[in-house]
Subunit: 272 residues, 6 copies
């Protein structure tokens, strides 16, 4: 007779399940809930064991309200995850977030993990050390939408006590693909560990944490999130051979290295 | 033979000209520009001497682009100025601001004064002292939209050097109409003086300033805006007789006095 | 027919009514309450109109509980107000304050103004600028007892919501009697005004404010008490003629001028 | 022929030797002194080799003066270590500490390690990060008495140069017995190491340090005590299996998880 | 029979007496000392009543040692006061200051007022608010030499207790001669008052204060110098008519308005 | 056939190559450049493979200009590295640094690593925690000259974008030779690693970093240099046996243990 280990949550909602990180997380979140409800505007294939598939446009309030039924906690990875025209950003990342929190409130969801981004602070310099007490400095329409999400979640905590952990994700890829990512690298395993901490810490209030592995170089100090208990296990150091020491300094006016946001500094609106 | 004194600007755009403060400002900004272009979704009556009247919905990008033609500087008082459903706020205050800055950038406008609000920080306590280095704490959908405007203007300054002064307006009324306003009072004359400072300081970068008179009690410290040169001339002290000393302390759980935002704490979304 | 102006409070308790400042305040607090209950261990003479006289040792818990019956708010000026052996300080200022707050809690008193002292921070240097966010640095057994009172009142606010304003009184005398007091002077009128602000501000939470007039020189920054609305009307400047400019610098090791506490630095326990 | 290794101190006084931590330390401090003088109000059994047993009520000044004869350094673990009525706390923890420092001063003792407590800051939130520069926020009569001890020791350092390390002890138990202790765990070995650092660092001035192991989650930042050289060797991580991930979030108004002090938030005085 | 009012000091040394501010101060410091010793490398004309004239090159150590004989306090306005080649700056402002403090130490002079400059912090932005706790950001060889003087005087205070007030002089001219000076204006009367405060405050330690009048616009916060008791009596506001409101914003890359140092940003070494 | 690995730089200049650390670095920097140009006033022996030897007095501007020809980056370890009379310090460390940066600018050198010193902050207490945002507190003429170098390099960065990393070197010796060095120890390997990080980080701007290994005890917090990616591999812990725990506390007025600078506190100018 097999013993069934009880999973902590009955139902986790993972939005953006068809996106880059959504795919990574799809299997990894399973140990935490009896059912993982997966949501996206794009196709997510067939539901596997322990999954529910709900295609949903976050800009559609009624759909989002329905999506939230029976959900305990939300991992909000939905929306646009790169620079785009404002109107598109607004539908997915602004109206989407507003709808999400309205639904969260109505459905009695207790906690949200919000995939914010380092682009909410991308206009700090690469020689600055940023912590969660400092004002945002978005580097793009995308970054502005992440600031918006942080504001909205702050409001829902102050007003209704709904807790959110905002993870300002660095570069969550299999490995760094440029030198900047040696600093911003956030391994999948560390991302999953940060999600675990965010879901299971007894109290998180409204916490902002930078999503990063234990890289040698960092721009971000997580001192105000120490209650989460997150300890990175990975480091970009193991990829050091990919970027050997080089004297090829960037040009003095190369904004992609002056500011933390990297290439986002060149995207989006152009001067006049 | 009369001498014509040259006015500093050729054309100022005043958005929200049909609103409460818009009406107050309509005449008062005239000394600063040959032409004051007035804009609103509501009717503004006939154009008077030195005025241009342009009815314009800020959510209509093409209209906003047209509105900005030939404009030197903008006083952005348009949009919704009280708590409202998010969808309405989004059109007027979020899409509206995005359109405005896109137009500002395209038209080569040099500086914007943005009517932000104390409701961007309304969830600080009435015993807190807030300055511009501290994170926002919006108290409403309206407050969140003002945080958004501050983010958007910060971006346009970091990216393109377009300067903005964000005035977090307190209570700009003829006189305080409740005890809270003894602290938040911002006389019309002081508002006009702050606009003058904001328009004529040689450099403002991206400045956040709390809009208040020199009241005895204050929650807001403008130390980071001292370069603007604003000195309040009024004080709520002259209205002290309206609110005599009283032992009628608010209830311990009265959020409208625990937090700075006052009655906004009761408006907007409700719990479940 | 005379009209009776309603006074804000029904009953104020003034402890330490026979002390130096107690005598000053005895008449001045009358406009704020129908009845002023005066308390001290020393004699206070006859009760005048609108007064109740209650001789009470603050170290006697039962007496303090009785003293608090029917009281709206407390001005706590009782206890020892100068350096003394610890045992005496403990009875009057430590047990006394503990009894006071226990009684305040039991009687449902809503607010206390606690006469703390600059000697709670007397070991800061006379070249330091101290504000309420900085740790205490007591200069005497007396100063330590004032730190204790601030801790106790903080606790009662955090635990029960009972509000206290801790006034770290500088030098409240008719006029400065030494050069140090040109910096620490706190006129009687300004003291009364600070009490008024402390009693009638809608919310005070747990506020620490330095009790000082608008002197030219100051060691204390009241930025975190700006919500109280206190504006000093006096300044020690009018006594400048008493202390003409002098080249008589203090000795390098004169602790009474190195540290803010002045002569308290020489009182109390001695080395071995 | 055996060589006798010289021990650093001639005599260490350990107060509270019959208490929970006192018993733990009794043997462990032996390597540091020729003689360990043990003191308590309760029985401590027979003196073993290298021990002196002195029964002593800390509220008895004459006894404490006698107790201090010939002592080099003090580990002050005496007094009440849990919430209790104020009068009892006052005798043991307030008068006791005052007597202790008077005796320390008279006996020429050079350094004290004072067992302060996390309950001196127990009213910070479990999402706050606290360091030694921040004001105390006691959560109990007990916590207030620890604030008092910190004030008293600060005074003796400022006045006489007597050095103290105040250790705000977290939860020093064999293992965490509730989830809160996963954050506040302070292993016996780490406690002993912190005592060692406190005793043997060349200069400690007046240092405040949070007593904690290297737990994953922490509320306390010891950046201002980095000169002590303390490095935790243990972590509560090894007990993680005792508290598996759980979705059982505490109630929104559960003060024992909102504030750092835990169950102390429910002890002590009650409302009215 | 005339009564002679005793002057506070026996002898003040004013270096740089032939310079712009030296000439202004020559008569104004007389009330403070029986004798004013005037020093410069340039001619100072005939000694008047109460004056001693000593021509002295500050780079000549023996001469500076002799100059200091019998001096109570020093007003150090000597050296080069504008941008110049480093070698010249080094002789006058670096070796000169080193010689001065060596002499001050040997002669037992008790206090120095050092004419530092806003150019020690000229690379802060014109939208920054600078106080004395922030690192220096010199804008020129001249500014670097002023940082050096601040370091040297800090050392002599820490090492020997010799007190110095470093006045970072703004623009001390009869009236503002460009718009920048509306912010940096420091009237002669206010300069003299600041000197008076610096000389006669009982303790100054090592104080850094920005030399400015009470102008509407300011970049500098003197909160850490509040113990000096300086209150400006003048303001640039009376010269507002000289710089009427203008829309002529500076170019975006005009460093003289981006940074506080103004035209110094264009002087000194050039790129390659 | 052997493959030649390309080295990152064509030519590194190492000044002070005959000094204590210069000798240590001579071989260790070779992997970073095709040619290492070695410079000193003292003899450096024969040039080995990949070396150029240039005897050069840094106070000789023409010589320094010539020295810089063809150099990519500079490791500036030249000058006097201990307390000395000011005139000598001035030639080597002040004029020397001024000449160096003038040459760096003229030669188009892109980055400098400047060997600053903990003696730039030696007058902080051994119980203080110092980071790069705090004002300097030099403990000697030598320390003042290091502050000067930091000012000069800051200027060249603000003015011309020439990047510098200022390493405030602790005690870089084979092993600690006194107890103080248990805190300040900076192993040769860690020094080399810090140089490597300083040379190869994409952007360093003007970074100040404390040069220390991962010692248990530290006075210095490198939080503002986290972008460099430096991780110490050594610790003084392995030398703990050299300094066994001891009760021999320093005297209360022993400045060499009160302040961080150690014995430098006794060198240099003497009182009168």
């Amino acid at each position: 007779m097999t013993q069934t280990v009880q999973k902590p949550f009955k139902r986790i909602l993972l939005t953006g399940a068809a996106g880059g990180l959504g795919k990574v997380l799809r299997d990894r979140v399973k140990p935490w809930a009896e059912v993982v409800r997966l949501s996206d505007v794009a196709g997510m294939g067939e539901a596997r064991a322990g999954e529910e598939i709900v295609k949903c446009d976050l800009a559609d309030k009624a759909a989002v309200l329905a999506l939230m039924e029976g959900v305990d906690v939300v991992l909000h990875f939905g929306g646009i995850s790169t620079e785009a025209p404002f109107e598109a950003i607004m539908q997915a990342n602004i109206l989407g977030v507003a709808n999400l929190y309205e639904a969260v409130n109505k459905a009695g969801v207790k906690r949200v993990v919000f995939a914010s981004s380092n682009h909410a602070i991308g206009y700090y310099r690469t020689t600055d050390t940023v912590d969660a007490s400092m004002p945002t400095r978005p580097d793009s329409m995308y970054g502005i939408s992440k600031c918006f999400g942080e504001s909205m979640s702050r409001y829902y905590y102050d007003r209704f006590g709904i807790e959110t952990v905002c993870i300002r994700i660095g570069s969550s890829f299999p490995e760094p693909i440029n030198k900047r990512m040696m600093t911003t690298y956030f391994s999948y395993d560390d991302l999953v560990e940060m999600l675990r901490c965010s879901l299971f810490a007894p109290r998180v209030g409204h916490t902002i944490i930078m999503g990063q592995s234990d890289n040698a170089s960092t721009w971000w100090d997580n001192r105000y999130a120490s209650h989460l208990g997150y300890k990175a296990k990975d480091s970009s150091a193991k990829f050091a051979h990919l970027f050997p020491d080089s004297a090829g300094y960037p040009e003095r006016d190369d904004v992609t290295t002056i500011y933390q946001g990297g290439k986002f500094l060149l995207d989006g609106p152009q001067y006049r």
